[in-house]
Symmetry: C2
Subunit: 372 residues, 2 copies
């Protein structure tokens, strides 16, 4: 195995593969990146046994890749990335000296890194699942930023730690929930499909970090695994087992009152009372009437507050509702619009939160019973 | 106690006082900021019992401070800072409602924070020590950035965790050492003085963060404490007990050989081998002759490297010397010059490291015995 390449391209490919590498990997070999030099390309693979990333580079004018001989090796991810990032040269040579010694060569120096044989790297099946749909990077980012935050971070029900992608006809519904709140993004696809899969939020965030703007994303999935393919990179992950809860049922559809707010004003008003927590939970009370909308917070040991929203309007009977402040902040952050509508079905019923101008994203938050 | 003030000025004063507040304070009252409203000014005090900061504000056109009634209270530092930072208003009112309830008032809201009585705040003696000298903010920054990093971070000899300021005549010598290396900055003062005090590196870094560009710093000290006074702010700290070691003796003055390097080139060459550590120590070997200067690193389990410096010159007999790489990196970072000179007195003797164009800063690093 021997090749030379533009340093920045090598760094880019190693960084992409390294995204899947975890320092807490169960298998020691997985702390490395598998570098497989073939006749016409170099393939880089990184994995933490749940998520695997494979990316390739072929000789081109810009990357100045020259392959002298084939072969493969597994190099410790943090060592190789650190040195390739810090080298001062334009072109770097890489060579396997014996079974496990990798030599990097620059104009002025040589760097030998003890590595391990490619045989020790576990086999990862990158065969392509059958189901297929396409998203633009922008659509994908919208989905992740408006749903992944609502997933559960507890291990008790693994399926809730992911976003459910359900396609029926040409409609894609993406839902994240931890049972106290729901975040949903709906998109139209170009072709009809049937899918019902749940993808770990961690995988989705990894894919988002690896995306470049120019690519469309081909998504291949079956019941076991999913592949995101863009450019010369494949990110593959197991799907989460278990049945995703039937979240459609909790989305309220009939309303008795509505609150419209300036998104930024409400966000900042809630955020500045964030230190008034009871048992580490930030509860806010919305006191709504047609005359005024007030936010009241009371934390026994810390203090209390009462603030009137300047730009808010309420239609319906007066109502007081207590909510988890961080859920509302998360929802407002994800909606991003100028104005947000909270639609109420009645005391203690789930509340639907939406941008007033964009019906494709909706949040549902369940109120908290309050005793004051 | 009642006043109103421009929000940004209040935030600025609270942040300054809060710099001395530590969440790990031995006294619960010290997690607060003492706000003392007098007829003509408000005085803010924060302390962690070692370092204390006092800053004041008097009514002015810009800060719109209006004092309605005097009084004092101790408010939890993190709560008051958090809310004042996040308020949307220009002017904020603050009022003590009874002994311990502090009310902030804005156009649309009120925020009550449970606080504690000013009586619970410990007495801090801000009386002025007799000795006095003056530094410009730039001189002060130079001293801290070129000496504090070399102080010891171990508790075994407290005096080594500070920078020694020794004035004899009109020369100020500032020295930091952990016994393996020394960093020294020398400055000329305007007047003659005699001082020999050691100031904790933590205090110096705090003062550096609080400085604004326009002020000169008046430094008052006796054998027990030091005060840095600039604008309306006093930062006061105990001095470190113990005799600072006689570091002058280890600064070599006669040399048999000299190495001149491009500072950045050497820094980057050492930095990129940083992952090759033996028992978590990064040892580098400089192989010097008139023909070539090479850096060699060998870490049994990780690998080895050999790189030739392009822009380096050596005068003297060929020599190999092993150094702690992080000490050299620290020294080069502090020297900042384009070219750096390493002056050698002989094998295993302390090495003097200086910017080729600035004799006011010098570093001494002791070589490591190496067995290969």
């Amino acid at each position: 195995m021997k090749f030379s390449i533009d340093r920045r391209y090598l760094q880019d490919k190693l960084s992409t593969a390294a995204r899947a590498v975890s320092p807490f990997s169960p298998l020691p070999a997985l702390s490395g990146i598998l570098i497989d030099v073939r006749e016409d390309r170099i393939v880089f693979t990184g994995s933490d046994s749940n998520v695997a990333i494979q990316t390739a580079i072929t000789p081109g004018e810009m990357n100045r890749l020259q392959i002298e001989s084939t072969g493969s090796v597994c190099v410790e991810s943090k060592y190789i990335l650190d040195i390739v990032r810090k080298l001062d040269c334009d072109t770097v040579g890489m060579e396997l000296m014996d079974y496990t010694l990798v030599r990097l060569t620059t104009e002025n120096g040589t760097f030998n890194i003890n590595s391990s044989s490619a045989d020790e790297y576990p086999f990862i099946d990158f065969s392509r699942p059958q189901g297929h749909f396409v998203l633009s990077p922008d659509e994908f980012r919208q989905i992740v930023s408006s749903t992944a935050f609502a997933c559960s971070d507890k291990d008790s029900r693994p399926v809730l730690s992911g976003v459910n992608f359900r396609i029926a006809g040409n409609e894609l519904h993406c839902s994240g929930t931890d049972t106290y709140r729901l975040a949903r993004k709906t998109l139209q696809l170009n072709q009809d499909q049937t899918f019902d899969i749940t993808i770990s939020a961690r995988t989705l965030n990894e894919v988002m970090k690896s995306l470049s703007d120019s690519d469309s994303i081909d998504i291949f999935a079956d019941r076991r695994k999913i592949q995101f393919v863009f450019g010369k990179t494949i990110i593959q992950s197991r799907l989460l087992d278990g049945t995703f809860p039937p979240v459609d049922r909790i989305i309220p559809t009939e309303f008795v009152s509505r609150l419209t707010v300036d998104t930024q004003e409400l966000f900042r008003a809630i955020d500045r009372t964030n230190f008034m927590k009871n048992d580490n939970v930030h509860l806010i009370k919305l006191d709504c009437s047609e005359q005024a909308v007030r936010i009241k917070v009371r934390a026994a040991e810390i203090g209390n507050s009462d603030e009137r929203l300047k730009n808010a309007s309420w239609t319906g009977e007066p109502m007081s509702v207590t909510l988890n402040g961080s859920y509302v902040l998360d929802a407002l952050k994800a909606l991003k619009g100028e104005q947000t509508e909270f639609a109420f079905s009645g005391q203690l019923k789930p509340i639907r939160i939406m941008d007033t101008k964009d019906a494709s994203t909706l949040m549902v938050v369940v109120p908290v019973r309050s005793f004051d």
